[in-house]
Symmetry: C2
Amino acid sequence: MTPAADATLADIGEFGLISALRSRFPQGEHVLLGPGDDAAVVGVPDGRVLVSTDLLVDTRHFRRDWASATDIGHKAAAQNLSDINAMGGRASALTVGLAAPPDLPVSWALELAEGIAAEAAVVGASVVGGDITRAEEIMLAITVLGSCQREPVRRSGASPGDVVAICGRQGWAAAGLAVLTRGFRSPRVLVEALRRPAPPYDAGAEAASLGATAMIDLSDGLLADVGHVAEDSQVWIDIDPASFEVEEPLEAVGSALGADPMSFILTGGDDYALVATFPESARLPQRWRRIGQVHAALPEESARQDEGRREAQTSGRVTVAGSTYDGPAGHEHFR
Amino acid sequence: MTPAADATLADIGEFGLISALRSRFPQGEHVLLGPGDDAAVVGVPDGRVLVSTDLLVDTRHFRRDWASATDIGHKAAAQNLSDINAMGGRASALTVGLAAPPDLPVSWALELAEGIAAEAAVVGASVVGGDITRAEEIMLAITVLGSCQREPVRRSGASPGDVVAICGRQGWAAAGLAVLTRGFRSPRVLVEALRRPAPPYDAGAEAASLGATAMIDLSDGLLADVGHVAEDSQVWIDIDPASFEVEEPLEAVGSALGADPMSFILTGGDDYALVATFPESARLPQRWRRIGQVHAALPEESARQDEGRREAQTSGRVTVAGSTYDGPAGHEHFR
C-alpha cells in the first residue's frame, strides 16, 4: 500500500501504517516467522542469542532538520547492529518500536523504515517485528538479535600486556556535529559521517577470530568507552595519541573552528568504530591500528593526578600518553 | 546502591540509575551473560527464538495516578510475556528501555523495575538488558525473548470446523477502567485486574500440546483480536455470547453503571486471556471454555449486514450469535 503523499499517521491509522510498513521489511533466511503474529520467530543455530536495545528520542539522538528520515533510520539501525559487532557476533533480526504524534507524515515513517531496512540488509539482518504508538515526541526503540560462532567477546577480558587496537573511523561524527552546530554544512564527508555512520561490521567477528580478549564499540566517546573496558577488566589503559592518523577533514575542521582535532578522536561519539584488546602476540590486519596498551596499574604520577576525579569520570582508568585527560570523556544522560 | 529517598534521575545520572537498577534484576539460568556489556547473551536450546516488542507511553498505556510504579512494571512485563504465551512458548528474557524526564523520582524507576522483575520471575524470565534516556514523556519499550518446544502456534492456522476456546479472565480490566474513569475505586478486584493483569502463562504451551491450530492473546479486545485470527486464517468466526459466564463483579459494575457486562467481555482489552482454536475432537481441560465456532463463510444474512463495515472493523470476519456486533471491536492508535 502506498498512502497519499501528504498523509499523516492520523489519516491512515495504526493498522494502515503497519500495513504500509510491512512491505518495506523484506525477510531474510534467518526469519522463520516475520511480522504480524504475536511474536516473530528467528533461527538461532548456535543455541544462544545476543540481544541489545537502544532508545532514540527526537532532538536528543537525532534532529529532523539535520538528517533525513532515511538517514535517521540508517543510523538507528547501525548503532544497534554495532552492539552485536562489538560482541564478535552477526546480527540477524531487529524489532522497531515507533512512538510518534498523529501529525507525523506517513512518508517520514516510511522513509525511516526504509533506512532501517537498508542498513539491516548490509549485514543480512531483517526487521521482524515492532510496535507503533502515539506519543507527543518521536521515539524509536530498537532491539537487535544476533548470534556468534565463537564465545562472545566481552568488555571484561583485557589483561595487562594486551595491546589496544581500533578499527573504523573515529572522531568524524563529532567533527560533523561541530560543523552543523556552528551552522555550516561542510566538509560534507564529516556531516555525512554524523548522519550515517559506517561501522566496520565485519571486523567484530574478525577480532574474535584473532583472539580479542575484550571489545567495545565507540558510541559515547573513545575515552569513555575504553574506560568501560578498563573498569570491567580491572585494568588501566594508556592511549597513545601519536598512534592516530589525524585525517585531513578532521585537521581542516580543527583549524577552521580553532579546535584540537584530537579532541574529536578522543571524546567524540557516534562513529561506532571497534576498540579491542589483543594479546601482544596477535598479528593484526592493517585495518586494526594499535592505539594503546593495557597495564595492571597506572604510572604513579597519573594515579596522583587522577585522585578525586574517579567518581565523575568513567575514564578514570584511562590515560592519554600517561596522563589523565582534561575534559569530558563522553556523554552521560540526565546530567 | 540505594539512592536518597527523594533523589531524581538528574541527581544520580544515567550511570547511577543503571547501577541502582542492576541489583533489581536477578539473572536466571537461561542467561549466559546479563546486563552491562554491549549485548546480553541468552541460551536458546531449541535453535529458534521468539521475539516481540511493545511500547508503553505515560497517560496512554498507564496512568501514574491510577497505578503504582510496581503495578505499571508488572503490567508492562505481563503484556510482553503474554505475547510469548500466545505462541505456545515460554519467555526467557526481557530488555527494558526507559525514556523519562530528569525530574522523575529515582524511587519510581526502581519500583517500576521491581515490578517488571517480579512479573518476569513468575515465568522464570530475566531482565537481561536495556537502555535509559532522557525524554519529555515517560515511555517504556519492552522486548521479550522466548522459546518453544513445539512449532509456534500462529494466528493463521484456524480451519472451518474448529472450535474456539478461551482461557483466563476477560472483561475484568475493561470493567476496572470503566470504574476508575467514573471516579470510583471499587470493586477492587476489577481495578486490580486493570492494574495488574494475570495472564494464564502456562496455558499457551498447554494449548500447543492440545493441538491448538491458532492462538492469540486478548490485548485490544476479544472481537478485535479474534478478528486477527479470522483474517489471518481466512475464516469466519462466530462467538456465542451465551457460552460466557458473566462473573459477579462484571454483573455488579454493569448494573451500577448501566452498561451491558457483555460489552466488557466482547470488546475489553488488557486482560491477556488466550483465545485458541482447536480441532473439534480436542479434549480441552476445564479452564478452556468453548466460546465459538470457526466457519468457512458467514451465514448469508450476516454477510449482508456486514457489507460496508469491513474496512473499519478488524472484526469484519467475526460475528456474535450469527450477527455483526454493533460497536467498536477494540482500540486502534492514532484514530
